[in-house]
């Protein structure tokens, strides 16, 4: 996918968030020397290309009381990992779900599903739901609770430096 220089300018102007006013796109457009309609059209194209997933809010899990987060990991039969991954991802309490390579012999797990909850007990109960959904196709599983955030930075487009 190639982004035009104008796309990069638009992304840089909006990745920290939109101004919270009644016409946010008009404010951003003015700062970029575009019309409101031009900016909205371009954003629609970026959305059609999959560069923009949605326009909305990112809730702060921690401030909303969801302080427990467990990375559940599973060793799932390769023949069915993708179809089961779709089902796990669709569970309402799974925030990320990926297939990743195993790192044998230390790490036999190929399916990762992140679960958030208010308590560890809640996360453990949700993990049991994933386990029953996976059934016999799953050979082993584990859960890794995060005990400390060691670093957290926004993932920013670094077009200007590169």
């Amino acid at each position: 996918m190639t982004l035009t220089p104008q796309d990069r300018t638009i992304i840089e102007a909006t990745q920290a968030g939109l101004p919270l006013v009644t016409r946010p796109f008009a404010v951003v457009a003015e700062s970029l020397g575009l019309s409101e309609a031009e900016l909205i059209d371009r954003l629609k194209q970026l959305k059609a290309q999959g560069v923009i997933r949605r326009i909305g809010a990112a809730p702060n899990h921690y401030r909303l009381g969801m302080t427990a987060n467990g990375m559940t990991v599973w060793d799932v039969d390769d023949a069915v990992v993708d179809s089961l991954g779709e089902k796990v991802g669709a569970l309402p309490f799974v925030t990320h779900c990926y297939r990743r390579p195993r790192a044998l012999p230390d790490w036999p797990y190929n399916l990762f599903a992140m679960v958030h909850g208010e308590t560890r007990e809640e996360v453990i109960a949700k993990r049991a739901e994933i386990s029953s959904l996976l059934g016999k196709a799953c050979r082993a599983g584990d859960i890794l609770f995060s005990t400390r955030i060691l670093k957290k930075t926004g993932m920013r487009l670094r077009g200007k430096e590169g």
Binding site: G50, I52, L64, C97
Partner: protein
Amino acid sequence: MTRKLSPLERTLINRLQDDLPLVPHPFQELAQELGLSEEELAGHIRTLRDDGLLTRFGPFFDAEALGGAFCLCAIAVPPERFEDVLTKVNAYPEVAHNYERDHKLNMWFVLATESQAAISATAEAIERDTGLPVLLFPKEREFFIGFRVNA
């Protein structure tokens, strides 16, 4: 840390996770539904953001579609060396976030670089710096997520 949310704030946190329309007045429809003016709705969202209940409001970009490369990595750090290794790993600007987890593999971080080649190069540099193997867990497939926070 957490403050009590009003019923309106709960509704807003739930509804604002939906996709808003790309139109000149993106808040109009939701404001009407909730019996608010657009200005009032924007003001409530500002408050939620300023109070840290929302981290941001705006477009969500697909990080890979933006042209970067990303990789989840893990290191089994001997407990007595944890702080020393942490300082070394976090010194890399390519380390976007890093979590301690309760496992033998106790340090999990995401590398964010401009290219795939830079992922391997950075992981190798961290191995040299720390003397510890860095396991790479690149995303092979991402599954659709139906998740929403229910406030």
